[in-house]
């Protein structure tokens, strides 16, 4: 059988997968602007008793964040009351204040006002204004039991915090999000790494794929 058929088969597999990938990546969906989570799925809930107020620091709230999501994993037996949410920056200036009803377990989205700068080291205060306990998903405990103990970032208490997910406004495809990903990629890397590095690596990965096809061609041409 001709080596070209082998090459064509390999090229077909890669092309089909790439095409499917492009379609998948083009689908718009909500994306995070920041999160304090260190776990896929929290196994320990953070309880807020009726009337209790709880604050946590070290919140990184990007300027692009349009909503804050808290995840309620449990409610007491009495009807849950409203929840007061106050988000402020490191100097105490309010970023967002809202009193939101709590009707059921699940995601709870609080809109954030625009026209602000990135806020590092901010604080989030929650107060349960109702008569029922509210349990929030935490941010630390990993479902991977073999994992090392997780640590919060600077300025945060070394304990489980209420998980906070900050979402970008609207929905973006992965292609639209790519420059943001490239910018994040450059953080906490060697000093010479920039956003450009991600594009170079993607090009390198594609070049390696081409190299694999070249090696395949060399292999199939030998008897």
């Amino acid at each position: 059988m001709s080596p070209r058929i082998g090459l064509a088969a390999g090229g077909l597999v890669v092309s089909v997968v790439v095409a499917a990938l492009v379609l998948l990546l083009a689908q718009p969906s909500p994306h995070l602007a920041a999160t304090n989570t260190r776990a896929y799925d929290e196994r320990v809930a953070i309880d807020l008793a009726p009337g209790q107020r709880r604050c946590q620091g070290g919140e990184y709230v990007p300027a692009a964040a349009a909503r804050l999501r808290l995840t309620i994993v449990g409610l007491g037996t009495a009807p849950a009351g409203p929840l007061a949410v106050a988000l402020s920056d490191s100097e105490g200036h309010p970023l967002s204040q809202a009193t939101t009803p709590v009707e059921r377990a699940g995601p709870l989205d609080i809109p954030l006002a625009g026209g602000r700068a990135d806020a590092d080291g901010g604080s989030l205060c929650l107060q349960n204004l109702g008569r029922a306990r509210i349990a929030f998903e935490g941010n630390l405990t990993s479902s991977v039991l073999e994992a090392a103990p997780s640590l919060n970032g600077p300025g945060e208490r070394p304990t489980d915090e209420v998980r906070t997910d900050y979402y970008l406004g609207g929905r973006q495809s992965w292609f639209t999000l790519a420059p943001t990903i490239a910018s994040r990629f450059a953080d906490y890397k060697p000093s010479w790494v920039g956003a450009w590095t991600l594009w170079v690596l993607i090009a390198l990965a594609l070049a390696l794929a081409g190299g694999a096809m070249m090696v395949l061609r060399l292999a199939l041409r030998t008897p």
Binding site: V73, N139, L140, A147, W174, L201, L208, M214
Partner: protein, 520 residues
Amino acid sequence: MSPGPRWRRVMSRAWRRAAVARRLPHAAWICAALALGNGLIWNLITPAMQGIDEPAHISYVEYMAQHGRPPDITGPPSSGGGTVSALASDWSDVMASLPFADAGPPSWSSAQSQALRQRLRTDNRSERFASGYVAAYPPLYYGLDALVDRAASALPALDRLFFMRLLGAFLFAGTTLMCFCFVRELMPGSPWAWPLAGLAIAFQPVAGSLAGVVTPDNLLFLVSAALFFMLARAFRLGLTLRRGVAIGVVCALGVLTKGTFYGLLPGAAMAVLILLWRSRRVRSRSARGRRLLIAALTAVVAIVPAGIWQLVSTVVLARSGASTTAGVVTSGAVGSARGQISYLWGTFFPRLPGMHQWFVNSLADTAGRITLAPYYPLWDVYIQGFIGRFGWFAFGFPAWVNWLGLGVLIVITAGAILTVARARLGPRWAELFTYATMLVGTVVLVAVVGYRFRLSTGSGFEETRYLFGLLALWGALVVCGVRAFGRYRNVAAGVVVGLLVCDSIGAQLISIAHWYAFPL
């Protein structure tokens, strides 16, 4: 002054060796370069400390770079990757600034990143280290990386980390080359097979991800692949004194790298004995003497360096004499033979009635209730882990990709079995038996340590990378699987290479998504 005869002899030998290296097909070097490229990609994709056990390995390397000796095993206590306070001040800063968690993303704050980079330019490197559970590991890999660390000592921590990790990429390239050469010796009449084996290694995504971080596994994989290559060469060309010594040297290097290498030793010893037995047809006294010399020298070269290391470690450096694999001291819980057998069985086969259920995860729900979730190591750890689980074994492909990968693995394995069954192996059955012994030896070793670890800690132990000393066999498996397709071999080869490339690139993309977008 002109070079003397001795110098000319040395140069002539070097030239001949270079000529031998040059005789390797271009495809071998290209496969190695592809592996190097993948290692470089993973180096930069993976955030600092997100390689499995990386903080502890970095601490060991830095200790060796600064002190010229392995760290004390009885040093400051640490857990997991080593506590923040037990690391040098610049690494402490990195860990505090970059939230260290196996499942979560790094911080996405550019301001925090810039502030850390500024601090790292002026941070002093303190001399207090602790390597936690890896302190008892042999020092060979760490010594090599310590040389890199010293050469880059003027650079800030994150820049040094890049170069420390780069060693892994070169080791991965070497591993790929050795696997190429192994299949070349195994199937000398099938030159189409050699590059296929090289590609199977170069695009193995989990091996590639390990090549991008600081871990002694990279050297372990290289040395293990080299052992397979040398044994295959000896089986093809005969066991000479030089080949015996080379096998002994590789065994010594393996033992000085990581304890997992011990799993390969029974098979290697058996191979040497088989080869010596085969050469008994030459009955002269000098031939007998030569066989004894080869056996003795091979054993001495393999055993003495490891023995010297143990002596130096316990007597000179006053480190604990207990050996360790993945931080599990062998002087811990031993259990029972029945328990051990049921543990080994349960790793790969469904549990039989009366056997203990060893493999359970304890999961707490939001009310604090504990549920026990049994898992099946062959599927949950080894197969899914081989197709792709990354970071601290924290994330991987969607379930349907794993099922597709399982289907491909079944087809390849079935094809390989068919190829071996059809082949007229004759005397090569002994060689095949050798490799099977090396596989079983590694599996049993991991099961023994895993059983004791489970008894001591109640936690799971198995990880896919513990079997990656057998990567050379993966290359052979792929090639034998493709060969079974007969005249459709080219199509099968093309499909397999396409899938390998997609697996690798897909792994890199999901890792980028995980760490820099964290899709929920």
